[in-house]
Symmetry: C2
Subunit: 114 residues, 2 copies
Amino acid sequence: MQVRKFAVADATFERAPDQDGEVFVGNMVDQRHGAPITVGFGRYAPNQRLDAMIEVDDVMVILEGNLSVDSDAGTVTAGPGEIVHLAKGNQVTIRSHEQGAVTAYVTYPHWQEA
Amino acid sequence: MQVRKFAVADATFERAPDQDGEVFVGNMVDQRHGAPITVGFGRYAPNQRLDAMIEVDDVMVILEGNLSVDSDAGTVTAGPGEIVHLAKGNQVTIRSHEQGAVTAYVTYPHWQEA
């Protein structure tokens, strides 16, 4: 694999699986490409809520807006330039706020295979 | 491991190993923490140059400034909100420009053990 650059405008977004809310994911690198990680962009409409069991280590870098993540450890809220590490095995609720949010994400291993 | 949030102000930066330039890394999650990935922030002073063989899959999300990455595939330049995937096995030169740069990074596996 080569060195590749991705912008959010390059992403093809689809609704996050098993979710009813307006939360979208766009993988740029995944199990089709031969690397061990998945890389992509996430987009949250305003005031959405996503409940998930975290099946793979997932790192979100907040690019726009704010996201809150509720877990057994409490709630963290992150904004632009901040990182949230969702370690495998956590049950979480991810919530967007008034302005929605855009993220960059990296997972190991590939979340679509988990 | 729990859900954790990191801001660049939380990072303890050290000079990137085996480098002479003003390029600094601050791991927030690494081999000490039990997850399979390393997560951190990078900081590049203006007009720096880093030559490296990429030993692990490395994803950089540009938070501030711009970085150019030269490799066999040519040169990519990324700015705020963009992602660069440095796949394992590439020989690269990473260059900052007039304004320096700040990144968030994720590697698999841990770069300090590679």
